[in-house]
Amino acid sequence: MRPIVEAIGLVKQVVSDGRDLNIVDNISLRVFPGESVAIVGVSGSGKSTLLGLLAGLDTPSAGEVLLDGENLTALDEDGRSAVRARAVGFVFQSFQLLPALTALENVMLPLELAGAREAHRAAAALLDRVGLADRLNHYPKQLSGGEQQRVAIARAFVTRPKLLLADEPTGNLDAATGSRIVELMFELNREQGATLLLVTHDESISSRCHRTLRLAAGRLLAEAPA
């Protein structure tokens, strides 16, 4: 089976204090369709950087990323965007909802960008699915953190992406809310048959994944089986 995302010898080098520093250091990995994979590691170990590279949000200093069969390193910005539009959904620690759009409009946006019809109906249905049927026309600032994250999840799933990337989706939430959010993500993951790749500090989340990748100082440690 072809991996949905594959990294080969990935390096991200930055200059810090006049020294070259590899914040992602020679990482190779494969994630297959239908899998759920957790990336864990201490703060500053390079998790977010790696995720950004895998999503084509950032360019590596060396190595390659293959996303949905396309070599991201061979594509330009717009090419990478097109792959993202086709195959990837995101959930962020700080939600990243657009404050000027209502919950419904935030969820509709990816569909509208894709030129999908019935964006309204699909978005409303998914918001209903995440339990926000009566909050469609609320602005992000009128929602609690947990509610905002549920909107963000609806936005990530509404295009039925093959790969869902999440960077500490529960990082800003209390434990109970966080576990409900994670529950939701796994449910949607199952329903839609998507692949889940998430960064987390939370052992209870990583333990629910098929695999856990451990990062330390930009390097991949031994892979722990589920």
Partner: protein
């Protein structure tokens, strides 16, 4: 295109969420204020011109020594214009055994087309508007005629073959001011009566005039039509051509109006600039998210462009409508205040303002968009990532050039426009550099100061770019406001000073050298002042640099007339007041030299250093032009086109001329002068003087009103300037309070911050306004200028109180919201 729909939907959502409110309001108000001020100044300009036309009795006058082509009259009537013809000629007016040469104007019903004639029942009685022109068999005579022939209303006088009844005394008439060169007493009669006098025979000297008036656009197009087929020997004049005093005053009035309009544009520009910047900041996240969701760079650009254009179009149209309504309301109010009916404005100014608004928006909105599209999607993960810098420098330059071009177009006055533009640009650069420097300097005071002061300074330094922006924008705003208050007042004052209440309103011409002493004595005894007498030599310009002057070589009608006529030359060793040397140097003692007024020099193609040959009663002399002068015609002093050195002219046959102020009710002095010196001609320019005085008054009232409007625009700039760092400030206040800072500490810190920003902006604005005032006074308006030290105090005060006050007001509102709410709103 699919993006158009999505872009519009996003626009609608952004509008509803209030994301674009500041931008839309800034633009709408900018357009509205530009439109209002432009429409309003347009109307005032038209009104002033119409008022001035009253002096002429018409909007246009054709003059010829032969009967005018009937085609001119037919065409005028066909175009819906009013047109009547008049005849002027000289004739003896006879009463018993006395007679006097008078200038007769024969008019048709409807005369005058502009302004009015006034008559009275005799000396000392009140004058009134006549209901029609003189009836058949009657005439009206002016005060001089009545005085010379000792007439009373109802007396019979002889004119040519028949007798007429003096039906009234003429106290005011366009013909009294139309031709200052016309010398004798005046008579107005009905044209239908002329034939019966038998005075007009083939070969007699008659001036034929056709007076035309009507709606402005029709008059203008008629003027163009007529101008292209003007027969030889026919002169076509508006009031500007006829009276240099009025031309000068109108031009100054227009410059004042343009200045006001430009100040409004400058303020609008700053407001839009600030709002566009804020729009750009707020769109960062939107664009990053669009990129993250897979939209291509150009797609992000297109979506943003649709929004920008959409809000621009909406706001511009709204602004134009608002401006049109505003000026209609205010026009009505002003009609009541200044007492002249304002003509309807063209829609052009409103459309121009809307176009200017859209261009402003694109000029400031588009360059950031070009870089905004390149925002890395990574920003969604790492918030501190901004836009790649320097992307828009070229685009900004282009935008700036567009704005500059449009401002010049809007100003309608290239020189004034460029001065204001350069002034703004210089202010901008200087303020930016000085702010940067001041921030460094202020930093030195950090040690030992209280926590609030330190924190206030720190926030200024933490966002140096934003601070510089704020100071620059606020300086520009304050500059416009100061220019329209103090500088405007100073300039108007200087203009009024040119024409005080006791400005000369009578000229005495043709005084013989042996009469000057006794004439002076009479004026001193009766009026208590001795006006200066200027020698006058009548001469004809015959050659320039040895080349004979040929009237036919000049394309301009005015130039042809000037060289055909005899010039009045004067001589003096001292440069007359109200004259300024604009090129070369004033006469050196002992030299033979000429000084020429710059306007006539341009018309006749005379340059500094040219040698002019004049013919005085058959004898010729030649001298070099050593200086060009600028003359303030609307000062009503005795002015000369050409002034020679005494060495050159003192020996020539000459007469004297003077001007003086005749107080109301002192007409007896004039009669005494006429009685004692029958050859001396008294020219009454009181109507002209009061026309110009009124014009100044009206302009100053109109400007006061515009000022009120400008202050409103200034407040918008203030708001936009302060709100530009508002989000960040809300977050900081919340954090400070969470950390335990009390209200007073927060307020003090912000007072420090805003106070400093305001002080800097106020000082820069004062400097810029003073400099601009000086340059405008000297180079554009031709007025003396003294800088008013008040401007510094006022600038500082307005800056500190305005900016500080507004800033603190916003801060208090932030303080009134619980920190948690603030933080959540920004989440």
């Amino acid at each position: 295109m699919n993006d158009l729909g999505l872009g519009l939907r996003l626009l609608a959502r952004m509008l509803r969420a209030g994301e674009l409110t500041l931008l839309a309001i800034a633009l709408a108000l900018a357009v509205a204020s530009m439109a209002t001020v432009a429409l309003f100044t347009d109307r005032t300009r038209l009104a002033l011109e119409q008022e001035a036309n009253r002096l002429l009795g018409a909007d246009l006058v054709f003059t010829s020594s032969r009967p005018l082509d009937a085609e001119l009259l037919r065409e005028a009537r066909w175009r819906g214009l009013n047109a009547i013809s008049t005849l002027s000629f000289r004739s003896m007016v006879v009463r018993a055994n006395a007679s006097h040469l008078a200038e007769i104007t024969a008019v048709e019903p409807g005369y005058p087309l502009r302004g009015s004639t006034r008559i009275s029942a005799g000396r000392g009685s009140d004058d009134r508007l006549p209901s029609a022109i003189p009836e058949a068999g009657t005439i009206w005579g002016d005060e001089r005629l009545v005085g010379q022939l000792d007439l009373r209303v109802g007396d019979r006088i002889g004119l040519g073959n028949r007798d007429f009844v003096l039906a009234a005394m003429l106290t005011q008439d366009p013909s009294l001011t139309l031709s200052v060169l016309g010398l004798g007493p005046r008579v107005v009669m009905a044209r239908a009566d002329v034939e019966s006098t038998g005075l007009i025979a083939p070969g007699s000297r008659v001036v034929h005039r056709l007076l035309v008036a009507g709606e402005r656009a029709a008059v203008e197009s008629y003027r163009t039509w007529a101008g292209s087929r003007l027969p030889q020997g026919v002169r076509l004049e508006g009031v500007r051509d006829a009276r240099p005093e009025i031309r000068g005053a109108l031009e100054r009035a227009e410059r004042f109006m343009s200045l006001a309009a430009l100040a409004a544009v400058a303020l609008a520009t700053v407001a839009v600039m600030l709002a566009a910047r804020r729009f750009h900041d707020r769109q960062l996240d939107v664009c990053a998210m669009l990129r993250c969701l897979g939209a291509s760079q150009w797609r992000v650009f297109r979506l943003e462009l649709v929004q920008l254009l959409g809000v621009g179009a909406l706001a511009s149209v709204a602004g134009a409508v608002l401006g049109y309504l505003g000026q209609a309301v205010l026009g009505q109010w002003l009609t009541a205040v200044i007492g002249i009916g304002l003509p309807q404005p063209g829609l052009g100014a409103a459309l121009r303002a809307a176009a200017l608004g859209l261009v402003l928006m694109l000029s400031f909105g588009l360059p950031p968009l070009l870089s905004l599209r390149r925002i890395p999607a990574l920003r969604v993960l790492r918030r501190e990532i901004g836009v790649p810098a320097a992307a828009g420098a070229g685009a900004y330059a282009l935008g700036g050039a567009c704005v500059a071009a449009l401002v010049l177009w809007h100003a309608g006055d290239l020189r004034l426009g460029s001065y204001v533009l350069v002034g703004c640009l210089a202010t901008l650069l200087a303020a930016a550099m000085l702010t940067w420097g001041s921030l460094r300097l202020l930093n030195a005071t950090r040690r030992g100061a209280g926590v609030s002061w330190r924190y206030g300074l720190a926030s200024l330094r933490r966002r140096p770019v934003a601070t510089v922006w704020q100071v620059v924008a606020l300086s520009l705003g304050l500059t416009a406001v100061l220019t329209l208050t103090l500088i405007r007042a100073d300039l108007l004052h200087a203009w009024q000073g040119n024409l005080p209440a006791d400005a000369p309103n009578r000229f005495l011409v043709n005084i013989q050298p042996d009469q000057s002493a006794s004439l002076r004595e009479i004026l001193r005894a009766r009026l208590g002042s001795v006006p200066a007498l200027y020698p006058m030599v009548r001469a004809r310009l015959v050659a320039i640099n040895g080349n004979a002057v040929d009237a036919n070589r000049y394309a301009e009608d005015r130039a042809r007339r000037l060289v055909e006529r005899e010039f009045n030359l004067s001589w003096t060793n001292d440069l007359p007041a109200h004259n300024r040397i604009s090129a070369g140097a004033w006469h050196r003692p002992g030299s033979s030299s000429l000084s020429v007024e710059e306007g006539i020099a341009r018309t006749l193609g005379i340059r500094l250093g040219d040698r002019l040959t004049y013919d005085v009663a058959g004898a010729r002399f030649e001298a070099p032009v050593t200086s060009l002068r600028r003359v303030e015609w609307d000062s009503f002093r005795v002015n000369f086109f050409v002034i020679g050195s005494p060495e050159l002219l003192a020996g020539q046959p000459s007469t004297y001329i003077t001007s003086f102020h005749l107080p109301p009710g002192a007409a007896a002095v004039v009669n005494e002068l006429i009685g004692r010196f029958p050859n001396v001609v008294v020219i009454d320019v009181a109507a002209l003087v009061s026309q110009v005085q009124e014009m100044i008054e009206q302009v100053s009232r109109a400007l006061t009103f515009i000022f009120v409007f400008t202050v409103a625009a200034g407040i918008l700039v203030l708001y936009a300037g302060i709100v530009s760092t508002h989000d960040e400030r809300v977050r900081e206040v919340a954090i400070m309070r969470t950390l335990g800072a009390n209200r007073a500490q927060v307020l003090r810190a912000h007072a420090t911050e805003f106070g400093l920003i305001g002080a800097l902006a106020g000082l820069f604005a004062a400097a810029a306004a003073s400099a601009l005032g000086y340059v405008l006074a000297i180079n554009v308006l031709g007025l003396p200028y003294r800088s008013d030290p008040m401007v510094w105090g006022l600038g500082l005060l307005a800056g500190v109180l305005g900016v500080g006050g507004a800033g603190l007001f916003l801060t208090r509102r932030v303080l009134a919201t619980p920190p948690l709410t603030s933080l959540r709103q920004l989440a």
